[in-house]
Symmetry: C2
């Protein structure tokens, strides 16, 4: 019984905001609605609960204990949704791996997280022998593919069929729900620890912003390992909507699925919106069922947004700004701020206002709060604030203070509370929705024989938002080629991190008084040209 | 720093879902929007934060400590909104008193809650000498009225002006936020203990269901002491909308305020909707700005709903079913289920589906879960589940088990998850949105000389939903009159609890095997007639 001043989280009677609540609720409130539909399979919310409880039983049989990590490496599909809920139901912690990573990057994250079980689909099954060799903690691989189950793996449907349903672990509140790996400033990805409550809360605010309800059909078009799509997925489940999928983003497949499944909601990164609009078979008619498009994860070029609004005039556009460390939403630009050619259209260049339940402050270097219009570091606080970085207490302490997360992004607030991003303090490039930390690419290029100095920056790209660009100073007398650098990187880091262009210069890189490379100076000429082209 | 498995609520870094967050957020995200507008006063969200921090400073100066109770007895107005937030900011617990209570009922609640401070308006200032005499814990009365401040009270605006703003106490999560008194089955009101998180969560789900945002103008037409209006108020604040007020429900004032303030949202109990529609000056034009009407707190007669939908075809109607013990929402019937003359129109007789984040079960007397269509007691669980009844551990234990609240209402779920209420096990009458516990009225009537037995039931009323009706068996040879009974009650209990009609019979009341009055038998003839008239 709680005392007069309220109970504590450890009171078993006060354990709410378990992510599995969505499954219990779906089965009770919308038992006969379709929860997931992929290719020829569809599952009702009522069956979903049974499947999740069985799959959780399967995980327990494999020895999974409360708090143990369960990874997945897969393209999009209905079993990705099952995986999330079954892991939570069993008491586990999800570790969704980035589908663009190389084998060694995956191995790093599997080892770092200590994952005991891995779900893998057809596309990535070929990587698993190396995982098993190099990740001793990994005791089981569950094959979610459509073909014959490879040797040494467990067949997903058979595991599910042969397992008894178990009771929900009821992990909740600040219990660890997932490790979401994000590029690291030190060159290694960091596992962002997110709790049940934070993800639950994000699902609810995204559901509200996007107006998702039991009639919604939500397409997973962006990769499901990424929290941008992840929060829309949670918004779908928390609202009793229907999940539909394309394995990966491909414009014709997306358009076809929108038509066939009568999709009402989807998340797209700006690059994807551009590709969709440019696709020869795009037409307003084909996307007539779409009500809301949520976009974010990288800056939206004004030209693309204008075209999108012209070609899809019936769609509500919602922009989200956030980061994994915030589960992920920080701010939202609602449909009513999506207006061109009015007094308010400068707001389209903003990241919107702090989302409901989320507070944003701008801090100056001396720790003081910035005044209106003054640039500083964006810090944010919400129930979605991360629990910390996995096994990185120093980095956690640097980034998280009293529930406030330092985003590493520079920005300012205007007098009406709109947030404008002006710079990324963490020296990160956002390309096609993926975060690339310059330090990691620089660290790779610096090992090329003949490189004296290197700086990696993001430059404008109509297709990717930003493109990775390397500025290299060769050692005296050395001669290097762009192709040589690119091939060297391709062998070592994920393709999206590899520079799209390389520039050689004999002058030293511009340095600050403290001896740091002045990246702003390097970026300036590229972005000035960009500013002229969109204004 | 949280450990690898997440922090605990006592970790100061994990203290979220403080109700004052809405004020911090409003001031940051919507600084120049109007937060409250009442008569000639309007306050922006930016000023609101300053006012709340100052008023909290004033409460601290009066000696208010963390967890201390602060009561209010007032009609609706902007200062009611200030009161809620300032009390929470100061670390206090709100105790909103029912404006229909008699002096002795108020004294009971003030004493029971141990309130140290009372806010009072012009309408109720006259009651305070008796409060001061009989409630020794009460150290200060703050006068929120518009006239001259009575002797012995503190003037609201002067207190606010002369107090320094204080830091937010940051009470949150399961910290006690309010005691909401509800009729007691034993004849005494019980203080329902609600926490910050539960009220915060309810604000968010109501905001989503009603589609409230920064452009919304929300009218407090129902009494603000009641959580039905309270949760809409929280939904308004959490979404950065504007609060507007009428002091109490009066059809012409409501219509006039809707027109003048361009009201978009309001909560009405069914009785109020009926009165509005019947009002001679009602017209569809006058309510053209209204987007959503939330209704609930008592059963909606089908005829009234049909008329409302016909006369206000542009309005989204949302029905809420709940109770104070759930902060208060349990289930919602969304606009898309508001259809007549289709296969789905039987759903209009339901209380909708479990709200997002809320689970509903039907329990049989043996504790087993009912099957589809089977009637049992409705139990519910959500982050809004109460913390318990204030100082009533036995009643708490009976009503609250592992986060599940026994509603005392009988009902069933259909195969699609719709909840139908069939009976109130707590023997409660809902009249004009107020809950009347039969036991309390019976207890009063039983003290009338000459009464042998009495049963109080709810009978259908076109105006009030239900009306209080007393069935009395006089002692042999005694003669009693309806008027005598009504006058006796009026002197002792709030007007809305007083029987509207009295029936005398010489036969004994029908009893169950266990000797309990079979109220269903008494109610039957009244409700059968009703069923015929609306079907």
């Amino acid at each position: 019984m709680p005392d007069a001043n309220g109970g504590s989280q450890d009171d078993p009677a006060r354990r709410f905001m378990n992510l599995t609540q969505m499954v219990h609720w779906g089965a009770a409130a919308n038992p006969n609605s379709i929860a997931t539909k992929f290719q020829s399979r569809s599952v009702t919310w009522s069956s979903m609960k049974d499947r999740v409880a069985r799959l959780a039983g399967g995980l327990r049989k494999l020895g999974l204990g409360v708090g143990d990590r369960v990874a997945i490496l897969s393209l999009n599909g209905d079993r990705y949704t099952d995986y999330y809920f079954a892991t939570w139901w069993a008491g586990g912690v999800v570790v969704p791996l980035n589908t663009r990573w190389t084998v060694s990057e995956n191995i790093y994250s599997l080892k770092d997280s200590g994952a005991r079980v891995l779900f893998v689909d057809d596309t990535f099954a070929g990587m698993t022998p190396e995982f098993l060799e190099q990740v001793p903690a990994l005791v089981a691989i569950i094959y979610t593919g459509e073909g014959a189950c490879p040797d040494g793996m467990l067949n997903y449907e058979i595991l599910l069929r042969d397992s008894e349903p178990v009771e929900d672990s009821m992990r909740c509140e600040d219990d660890l729900a997932g490790l979401f790996y994000t590029g690291g400033t030190t060159g290694f990805p960091k596992g962002v620890m997110l709790g049940h409550r934070g993800l639950w809360f994000n699902g609810l605010i995204v559901s509200k912003a996007c107006e998702i309800d039991t009639r919604s059909v939500v397409l997973h078009a962006a990769p499901m390992f990424h929290l941008a799509d992840g929060c829309l997925g949670l918004a779908t489940s928390i609202s009793g909507g229907r999940h539909v999928y394309v394995p990966s983003f491909e414009p014709e497949a997306v358009l076809k699925t929108i038509e066939e499944e009568q999709v009402t909601h989807l998340l797209l990164v700006p690059t994807m919106i551009g590709m969709l609009l440019q696709h020869p078979s795009f037409s307003t008619d084909r996307v007539s069922t779409v009500k809301t498009i949520l976009y974010g994860a990288s800056p939206m070029p004004a030209g693309v947004l204008r075209l999108a609004m012209e070609r899809m005039p019936h769609v509500r556009f919602v922009q989200a700004y956030g980061q994994t460390e915030m589960s992920p939403v920080v701010s939202l630009l609602p449909p009513e701020d999506h207006v061109f050619d009015t007094d308010a259209s400068h707001r389209l260049a903003s990241a919107g206002k702090a989302a409901i339940g989320c507070e944003v402050k701008i801090l100056l270097e001396n720790g003081a709060e910035a005044s209106v219009g003054e640039v500083g570091e964006i810090v944010a606080r919400s129930p979605g604030s991360m629990l910390g970085y996995w096994n990185l207490p120093d980095q956690t302490e640097a980034a998280l203070k009293n529930g406030w997360v330092r985003t590493g992004d520079g920005g300012y607030l205007d007098k009406d509370g709109y947030l404008y991003i002006v710079d990324r303090m963490k020296d990160m490039i956002v390309t096609g929705g993926e975060n690339v930390f310059s330090a990691e690419v620089e660290s790779t290029i610096s090992t090329v024989p003949g490189v004296a100095a290197v700086a990696v920056i993001g430059i404008p790209s109509a297709r990717w938002g930003e493109a990775v660009h390397a500025v290299i100073v060769p050692q005296p007398g050395e001669s290097l080629s762009e192709d040589e650098i690119i091939q060297y990187c391709k062998a070592r880091i994920a393709n999206y991190k590899v520079p799209r262009s390389v520039e050689f210069r004999s002058d030293p890189l511009p340095l600050s008084g403290a001896g740091k490379v002045l990246k702003r100076e390097l970026r300036k000429p590229f972005w000035e040209a960009m500013d002229k082209s969109v204004s």
